[in-house]
Symmetry: C2
Subunit: 268 residues, 2 copies
Amino acid sequence: MNKPKYPVLTVMKALEIIEVLSQDSSNRGVGISELSRKLDLGKSTVHRILETLKYYGFIDKNEETNRYRLGWSLYNIGQMVPRQNQLYNLDNTLLIELSQKVKETVNVGVISGSEVVIISKIEGSAENLRVNLQPGEHEALHATALGKMLISELPEEAIRSMMDKDRGRLKKLTHNTITSVDDLIKEIEKTKRQGYAVDNEEFCIGLYCMAMPLRDYTGNIIAALSVSTPYARINETKIKETLEDLKEYSGKISKILGYQGKDSRPLP
Amino acid sequence: MNKPKYPVLTVMKALEIIEVLSQDSSNRGVGISELSRKLDLGKSTVHRILETLKYYGFIDKNEETNRYRLGWSLYNIGQMVPRQNQLYNLDNTLLIELSQKVKETVNVGVISGSEVVIISKIEGSAENLRVNLQPGEHEALHATALGKMLISELPEEAIRSMMDKDRGRLKKLTHNTITSVDDLIKEIEKTKRQGYAVDNEEFCIGLYCMAMPLRDYTGNIIAALSVSTPYARINETKIKETLEDLKEYSGKISKILGYQGKDSRPLP
DNA sequence: AAGGGGCGTTCCGATATTTAGAAAAATGTT
DNA sequence: AACATTTTTCTAAATATCGGAACGCCCCTT
C-alpha cells in the first residue's frame, strides 16, 4: 500500500508502538525507554501515548514492572474482524466484475453435509446459452468443480466417508461423471497439484466448469469460486484466460476474508 | 481507569474511530461523513486518520463503496494478546504478594487429564509447618480444593466420566476424603454456590485448603488458585480473611488473563 | 438534461497540540 | 548509602493538526 497523502504522524507513532508491543516475544512487556530507543521518540512522548492507549484498554501496564503489553480491548476488537468480513457479508461487486470479465456465469459454493450449496451466482453476459443453477441449490460434490475444490484439502478418509455411494459407486450424472471413489481420490490429487478443479461435462452435458478455492483467515478453504461455461465456447486460450481471472479474483476475495498467504494459521 | 494526565488527543480520535468501526453491526462498513458526525470531527480530519490507519492495515477501505471496516492487522495483533497474557507467562509477583499476605503456601493448578497439576507454588512464610507439593506434581481432583474448583463448572456427566473409580468409589486418601461420586457432585454444587472450594483434610491429614477460580478471556475457568494452611492454624476469622484475599487475587489474576466480568464471551 | 444533495478528497492558513528536553520523582543496583 | 537508570511531570517553542472552503464525483429528483 502506498503512503497516505497527509499522514497523521501522531497516529503513526501510536500504531508503531502497538506494533512493537505485538512483536514482544519476551512476554514480559516493554518499557518506555526501550520503546523510545526503538522508535526514536522522546521518552515523554512515548509515555504520553502509552497512557492514552492504556485509557482505551488497547494496552495494559504492569504496575509492578512498569512494562506495557497489549491489552484486551485489542483482542475484543480483533475478534470483530472475521465477523465483519464473513463470506456471507461479502458484496457481490467482485463477483460481478469477474463475471463481466469472463462473460460467463460465476458461482460461489460451500460444503453442506456431503453436497455443494451455491451461495452466490452471477449470470454471465452471453445470454443465450447458460446454466440454471440457483443459489441455495444442492449439488453432488464429486461431479462439480466447486465440489472437487471444496474437498481437495480434506484427508482422504474424510472424502471417502463423505461420498454416499450406491453399491460402492458414485452417482452417475453424465457419461463423464467419475463414479469410482478411487478415481475421485486421484482426481482430487490432481486438483490439489494444479490448484484448480475442473468439471468436464461431468455434472451436465455441455457444461464445463473451473473452480478455485476461497480461503479465510485460518488458511482453510471455506468456499470455492467457479466459472461455468457452455462446452461450445471452450478452447485452450479461453481456459487459460479464465484460470488467470479465477486466480486473480479468488485471491482478492480470500484476501477480504483474511487470508494472508500460504500458511496463515497463527502459530500455537 | 482514570484519564491520562496528558492525553494525546489525536490518538484518542484514532482509537475512537476504531471503536466505532468495531461497533458497526451493519457489516457494510462506515463512511467518512457518518464517522465525522458520530465523533464530531471534521470530515477532512476523519479522512486523514482513516488513511493513516489504512496504511498500517488496521482498517480496510472498500474502494467500491468508500466505506471503512476493521482490517486484518487488528485481528493479527488481537491474536497476540492471549499469547502474551497466558497463565504460564504470569509473573509470580501477585502470587508472592498473596502468600506474604496470608503467610501460607499459595498454589496455582490446572486440569491435566483427570488430575490437577500444580503449575506454580509459593511457599508460605511460616516456615516450620508446610506442605510439600512441587510444581509439576499431579494430584487427585476429588480430594483437593484446586481440583474441586477446576471441575466445578463442568457438566455433571463430564465430572462423572472423569472420575476414575475403583469399584465405583473414589480413591480414599484420608478419613475425610469424599469417596462417592454422588457426594462429590453434591460437594461441587456447594462449591459452585459458594464460589470457592474447600479441602478439609481430604487430601492429607493436617491440611486445610481453599481455592478460587482463575478465568481467562473466554470466561472459562482455566486454572485455580489456592491457599494451603496447616489445620492447626485454622480458625473462623482466618478462613474469612483468607477467602477475602483469595477473592482479591483470583480477581486480579483473572483480569490479567483477560477475564472481563461475569460473562465476557463476546456476543455473536 | 439540468439541478440539487450527499459524499469523498484536496488544500491551506490559523492555532491548538504535540514535542523534546530538563528536571523531579521513583526505582533498582552496586 | 550513593549511584545509575527508569518513569513521570512540566513547560516553552514549533510543528503538525484541524476545520473550513472548494472541487469533483455520483446518484437521485425534477
